[in-house]
Subunit: 161 residues, 2 copies
DNA sequence: ATTAATATAGATCTGTGATATCCATAATAT
DNA sequence: ATATTATGGATATCACAGATCTATATTAAT
């Protein structure tokens, strides 16, 4: 269970775009050179980001990519979901098994019609909670906040001296 | 990016063991039957859990598995890490690239010897934060708390009537 | 208009890891 | 002794991440 390299590339590329915003477009050559990854591969990733309206692409000479929105409206969560897909991070594969009905009998009489409601997979319940928890964090962190933090960190370092 | 089925099986198996604690051992046959997965495959998973001291294994006739510790000392985090491995969920693959040094020049003069300290990968910094955040949640949720929640949920349902 | 630069989309290749099964071996209760 | 149970090794299969190549479309500059 690991985030893909594509996600890594996407986030780094967006940070680069955010950082170079005043200088206009950034071509795939500059991007791939900076990140140390092939143009071909990075193109695919940038295409995905474009299809989801995170970046704009300008074809032709002097073309390239730029952020399609202000950097504070591009969250880590959205980027991750575009690249990794929007499927749940945990899915119970035992829904057909006896597991859940067995546990449902835990000291109480359980009527059949209630089962689907309040006796869903216990594991999934916890894991979905974890997922929502994580979403919150990843929603609060944007390309902008990340750039800002870097800026402040370096400034503080200088002021301390 | 998804949790593996093995993790699913492991957590369900442990819930089953926790639930059947008073009845003694549970053999692989009962476990695999309840979860709807082959004995062979589940064995491997149980072996891992044993090697990490989460369950005890009793070979021979009437053997089986039982929790090696109280259910409230087996967290989701530990189970996940045993099955999925303890590698980070995000690793920056661009450490050699120019990305980070470029961003480090963000409006401040940066001395070379400080870089390794305070100008590490920005993406990794955010993602590691997310990981720690998630760890906290997964540490607080144990086999016991999950069983308890199921019990309370069903009880409340009954009392409401 | 032509050319060079740039992005896009399709096809394909490769390696790795998750999922799964089978078999031989060890341990233990009856 | 025998049947039962767990363990470990070897292996098979399959999907997917990672990556590359080529052909095509679009645009700026000449």
């Amino acid at each position: 269970m690991q985030f893909s390299k594509s996600t890594d590339y996407a986030l780094h590329a967006l940070l680069h775009l955010g950082h170079s915003e005043r200088h206009g477009n950034v071509g795939i050559k500059e991007l791939s050179g900076t990140l140390g990854v092939s143009e071909s591969y990075l193109s695919k990733i940038m295409s995905k980001l474009r299809q989801d309206g995170i970046v704009r692409a300008i074809p032709g000479v002097n073309g390239g990519y730029e952020l399609a929105r202000p950097a504070d409206q591009i969250s880590f969560l959205e980027v991750i979901q575009v690249i990794e897909g929007r499927q749940q991070w945990f899915e119970c594969s035992n829904t057909n098994s006896q597991q859940h009905s067995l546990l449902a009998d835990n000291g109480t009489v359980q009527r059949g019609r209630e089962r689907s409601d309040n006796c869903q997979c216990l594991v999934e319940k916890v894991m979905n909670g974890a997922e929502l928890h994580l979403y919150q964090y990843l929603r609060e962190h944007t390309i902008q906040t990340t750039l800002d933090e870097a800026f402040n960190r370096c400034n503080n370092e200088v002021n301390k001296k």
